[in-house]
């Protein structure tokens, strides 16, 4: 069989960086071809060139046997190359059904046939097990749901090549399983799937071939049957990673924060406790209300009822500043929208929460201290940036996440809430984040980590709180927890409402 798509000797330079260096890969119909590599290895750049978002400096794209140039991404889409980008490209001000059928709405004369739109959307959503109202605005839903909609939209079109850039990074296990079912169906229809992911387990589950990129160069393309996990990691980082997950022994101290019968929008009657030096994992399906609880604790959302105690004292938190004063910080899930000021520099992002501690003459920023702080953060969190003044929007996802974590740690909070801290970042960076969490717990910080990746929660946490449908369905000790036990609690509708 002939490849449906070939990239030949593709090179791409950005000012100061060679993002891709003579990369050649063939993609065949009916095949899932995984592209892996560390942050900044060039995966996203390559995908964007294939999709016509970027233009290569050298090299060719051969599609269905012909050399092609895309003047605009829409040309690639018309030819049947559809991309699900890491950054969502759904319109969150439109409804679910409008998003699904954007550009191909069922019509009655010149008007959109809304009845039919609703019905086809409903049926289509059923295939994906999404039980939501197609007329709701997309912004009502979590990133996970939005991502599923985006994937659904791509599969609806007649596509020859579907590029999925980190499609699972904000999905739960169940949703991932659903997605894989969809991918297998697409394979049957001879669609070629390019699958970019950091999650190696998934690659072994779904991919037929794997190409590894490192520093903009193609290391190798192999059949999945010739590979194992260690081999891939070795190719990615160029060295052996011995202990992938390191959990440092740390002592768990006295209770630092207690939540009592907290209710708010999206969750009800939640009580839990977290101790000094403890990592409390929060597991559950997307939409279970985990992020909402945390945003309520830090004062970003209004609580309906319930009490919060810090250091055994009841506290009132009306806004994030109150939370910060009590020593509570939160690394949000959506780093681009809530975590970073993308157009500002690495240094400015890191120092922002700490400005009050970097004072000089009461009103002024002590720029020397600020520079020291950002250099310290860049060094100790291994943030890869050409300089502290580089705008964060030019960093890779993993390095952006390190900036968000770093800016909070610089404040030395007593309690750090991390919402999906490893979403969309590669194995190397993940390992670094895990190590960091471990270190912080060892130093006595209390950590609350929301994560939809079960292996991650099980590995990192001391205890695991599981939520379903806005209720806390159980708290497991990490030693006795297993994927099965957690999933059982996470899907437990009956008990949750009882």
């Amino acid at each position: 069989m002939n490849p449906v798509l070939k990239v030949v000797d593709i090179s791409k330079e950005f000012p100061g960086v060679k993002a891709l260096d003579q990369v050649s890969i063939d993609f065949y119909p009916g095949e899932v071809h995984a592209i892996v590599g560390e942050n900044g290895a060039g995966k996203s750049t390559l995908m964007k060139i294939i999709a016509g978002v970027y233009k290569q400096n050298a090299g060719k794209i051969i599609f269905k046997g012909e050399e092609r140039y895309w003047k605009h991404p829409s040309e690639a889409i018309e030819e049947g190359i559809v991309t699900i980008f890491q950054e969502l490209s759904v319109m969150d001000n439109l409804s679910v059904s409008e998003n699904l059928f954007l550009g191909s709405e069922p019509k009655r004369g010149p008007f959109i046939n809304n009845g039919k739109l609703y019905k086809s959307a409903k049926e289509f959503l059923k295939e994906f097990d999404l039980n939501i109202n197609p007329n709701d605005k997309l912004k009502k839903f979590t990133i996970g749901v939005q991502q599923m909609i985006e994937i659904a939209r791509a599969t609806y079109k007649e596509s020859k090549v579907i590029i999925m850039d980190e499609p699972t990074s904000s999905l739960t296990q169940n949703e991932v399983a659903k997605l894989f079912e969809v991918i297998r169906n697409l394979k049957q229809k001879d669609v070629s799937i390019i699958f970019v992911s950091h999650r190696l387990e998934e690659i072994f589950e779904i991919a037929d071939k794997v190409s590894v990129l490192r520093d903009g160069k193609l290391v190798e393309t192999n059949n999945i049957s010739d590979l194992n996990r260690d081999k891939i990691v070795e190719m990615m980082v160029g060295r052996k990673i011995e202990n992938f997950y390191i959990k440092k022994e740390h002592e768990i101290g006295k209770p630092i924060m207690k939540i009592e019968n907290l209710s708010g929008e999206g969750f009800e009657n939640v009580s839990f406790e977290v101790n000094e030096g403890e990592v409390l994992g929060f597991s559950g399906l997307i939409g279970a209300g985990r992020s909402e609880i945390m945003e309520t604790i830090i004062g970003l959302r209004k609580k309906k009822s319930g009490k919060i105690y810090v250091d055994n004292k009841e506290v009132t938190i009306n806004n994030p500043l109150d939370a910060i004063k009590l020593g509570i910080g939160m690394v949000p899930e959506d780093r681009k929208r809530k975590g970073l000021i993308l157009i500002h520099s690495v240094k400015d992002n890191i120092s922002l929460p700490s400005l009050d501690k970097l004072k000089r003459f009461r009103l002024f920023v002590n720029e020397k201290a600020e520079k020291d702080l950002s250099n310290w953060a860049i060094d100790s969190f291994n943030i890869k940036t050409p300089s502290p003044t580089r705008r964060v929007k030019y960093l890779s996802g993993g390095n952006q996440q390190k900036v968000v974590v770093a800016k909070w740690i610089a404040l030395r909070p007593k309690i750090l809430i991390l919402d999906e801290p490893t979403r969309g970042i590669d194995v190397g960076a993940k390992a670094e984040i895990y190590e960091l969490i471990s270190d912080l717990a060892q130093q006595g910080m209390a950590i609350i980590m929301i994560s939809s990746e079960l292996p991650e929660v099980l590995q990192i946490s001391d205890r695991i709180a599981v939520m379903a449908y806005g209720h806390l369905t159980g708290v497991l000790n990490a030693k006795e927890a297993s994927q099965e036990k957690v999933m059982k609690l996470a899907t437990q509708k009956e008990k949750a409402y009882a």
């Binding site: 970003l300 806004n319 910060i324 000021i341 500002h344 400015d348 009103l363």
Partner: protein, 315 residues
Amino acid sequence: METLKKIFAIREFTIFLVLVALMLFLGITAPGFLSVDNLFSIILNVTFIGVMACGMTMVIITGGIDLSVGSILGLSGVVMGLLMHDLGLNPVMSILIGLLTGMAAGLTNGLLITKVKIPPFISTLGMLSIARGLAYVLSEGWPISPFPKSFTSQGQGMVGPVPVPVLYFAGVAIIAYIFLRYTIVGRRIYATGGNLEASKLVGIKTDRILIMVYVINGLLAAFAGFLMTAWLGVAQANAGQSYELDVIAATVIGGTSLQGGEGTILGTVIGAIIMGVLRNGLILLGVSSFWQQVAIGAVIIIAVAFDQLRGGKEG
């Protein structure tokens, strides 16, 4: 080479080059352009726009806009004039109350934007009409004069060859520059404009920042009202009419992004001077006032287009 690259990477430098090129061109083609008298008269003409543009820079950095500055200039000028002329209040008190009037208008803008959540464009458009209307109501449409010498000397006096208002403008620009560039609050203004959500999450009281920025903008508009009234020696309800457009243009030519999060006082000052030089040069060249408007509009668009294209390439 590296340092040269760095210099070119500074936004203000490109704008500065445009200014230099413009001045060279006019120096050669327009007789009398480069005389000291003419240069100071340009700066004097730029003063009122420039003072307001310093406030507008902060507003636009937060991602907002303020259309009411021209009207606030008119209103506060009338307030100062009436207090001195009709009530016989001393100039210092009159100026202070005039400035407070501007701050009150700015505070109203800020509260409407943050608490009632009316978009800046609409709330300040309303204020444009209200403040201008009040200026007419208070003055009943009549020009107000004369004023004590101690007042008018603030606008008409000279220190050596330098008109006094120019010194005030320099003072305002330097303070605004230091405030935005070096203070903690200044940083928070940039952060709020760069990403409101992320700023809230790190504990910045973004509503307060926004309100403050509109109050400062109202204050500076009133300050321009003081300078202009003192310079003209007469307070008029229609003073500063449609100045908001020149103020916004100067700010945007100076590289402040309407998306928010970016911009500097230095760029704005250069932007304001470019506007003044252009006006002056076109007059000296004998271009008709109708064509002047066309030329100025074109320059605004070219300057912003240039900046957009450059911005797209930056790594």
